[in-house]
């Protein structure tokens, strides 16, 4: 076999083994999407019960809480970027980072100082590589976030939120994450987490507006109920964002791996064609050599 042919065969073999890996990763991602969607769904009752309760307390207008009251001037805004720990998911990480960068420049334009927080190794490395200061970062749970992870993030954020802006605290918090629309579409977007805007657009659209909340009896009193409720509400918003991001990651990974498999198929096809051409050329060359040789022999025989 000719050298050229051997090179093509080698390339075909290596592309085939890569293709197998891509295919396997695609299938794994596909099965994990279902699990991730299941987790999103399982967390639904908790967050809707919390939203309902918080709305109920909020409409009970005489209660004031630091988490809901808008500061007079907002100087420092926290931007929490939620990405994944690993890659192989196409533009997933860069899309969410780009969304965050847009938000950062938007905040700068309005005269606020953005403070960055990163969740997931991809976002952490993006910012550390560019030597941008990160106030805090979390990694290691992007694929299967637990309520405890969300609480850790929530506690750190609330602690900074409670600090004065002059002492390195923050006045408002934005979450940047990838919203899971369906397995084909995932949209990076941001939402303002604090100060709380109680009426969630999404909730308002999907749930029929509850006419008027009844007057609640508070046990022991409205302040302590709010103290218990609001941090949980914040944690639950973070948890929902983490779960959505995890589901989006798997979906993005599946799409990316599907594309990789298709590309590998194309490559294999192209190399096969090239290998066939090389083989054909080799045969043609051999034939010409034989015919030429025979001609030369015949010519020398007749000349005798």
């Amino acid at each position: 076999m000719g050298a050229q042919q051997r090179v093509f065969r080698q390339k075909i073999r290596s592309t085939q083994s890569l293709r197998k890996i891509f295919k396997a990763m695609e299938l794994i991602a596909a099965s994990r999407i279902q699990k991730a969607i299941g987790r999103v769904r399982a967390a639904g009752p908790y967050s809707s019960a919390l939203t309902r309760a918080v709305s109920a307390v909020a409409t009970h207008s005489d209660v004031e809480h630091t988490l809901t009251s808008e500061p007079e001037t907002i100087r420092r805004s926290a931007v929490v970027v939620i990405s994944a720990d690993s890659g192989f998911a196409g533009a997933y990480a860069s899309n969410v980072v780009r969304e965050a960068e847009e938000l950062v420049s938007l905040l700068r334009e309005s005269g606020k100082e953005p403070v960055l927080y990163a969740v997931g190794r991809k976002a952490v490395t993006y910012y550390t590589f560019r030597e941008r200061a990160l106030k805090n970062s979390w990694e290691g749970f992007s694929e299967t976030p637990t309520p405890e992870d969300a609480r850790r993030i929530g506690e750190a954020l609330l602690a900074d939120f409670g600090t004065d802006a002059d002492d390195g605290g923050i006045d408002e918090i934005y979450l940047v994450y990838t919203r899971f629309v369906n397995t084909v579409t995932q949209r990076p977007e941001y939402l303002r987490l604090l100060p709380l805007e109680i009426v969630d657009e999404e909730e308002a659209e999907s749930a029929p507006q509850i006419e008027a909340f009844p007057l609640y009896e508070f046990e022991p009193d409205p302040e302590s109920v709010l103290d218990a409720l609001l941090p949980r509400y914040v944690d639950s918003r973070i948890f929902t964002a983490l779960l959505g991001a995890a589901a989006s990651y798997q979906a993005a990974k599946q799409t990316a791996m599907k594309t990789a498999t298709d590309n590998a198929d194309d490559l294999i096809k192209r190399y096969t064609r090239l290998a066939n051409t090389a083989r054909q050329a080799e045969i043609t060359q051999e034939l010409t050599e034989i015919v030429g040789g025979a001609d030369a022999l015949a010519a020398s025989a007749s000349a005798d």
Binding site: R39, A42, A43, P45, Y46, A49, L50, R52, A53, A56, V57, T146, P147, A150, R151, F213, P214, L215, Y216, E217, F218, E219, P220, S224, V225, A228, L229, R232, D235, S236, F239
Partner: protein, 88 residues
């Protein structure tokens, strides 16, 4: 007397633990135990942790451990929302 039942749901942060109809719910708030019967007035309370007892419509008693969270009662709809909860 079908209308005189409580619609109860017990949810933890990552899953729904139990939901169904009940005759009575007893939970421990920071002020002490609170018992809820149908047509109770709307309440929002902080759960101090510990056991929640639910007497179902069949008279069966269900116990759940609820660790930190709150309880809301509104028009015979009882929600026990806990950080961690499990049936005992």
């Amino acid at each position: 007397m079908a209308e005189n039942l409580l619609q109860v749901e017990v949810v933890a942060a990552d899953a729904e633990v139990w939901s169904g109809q009940a005759r009575r719910v007893v939970a421990r708030t920071s002020e002490g135990e609170i018992g809820i019967l149908p047509r109770h007035e709307p309440v929002l309370g902080v759960i101090a942790g510990g056991e929640v007892r639910i007497i179902t419509s069949e008279g069966e008693e269900i116990r759940a451990n609820a660790d930190g969270g709150f309880l809301s009662v509104d028009q015979d709809h009882v929600a026990i929302v806990a950080d961690r909860a499990q049936l005992v």
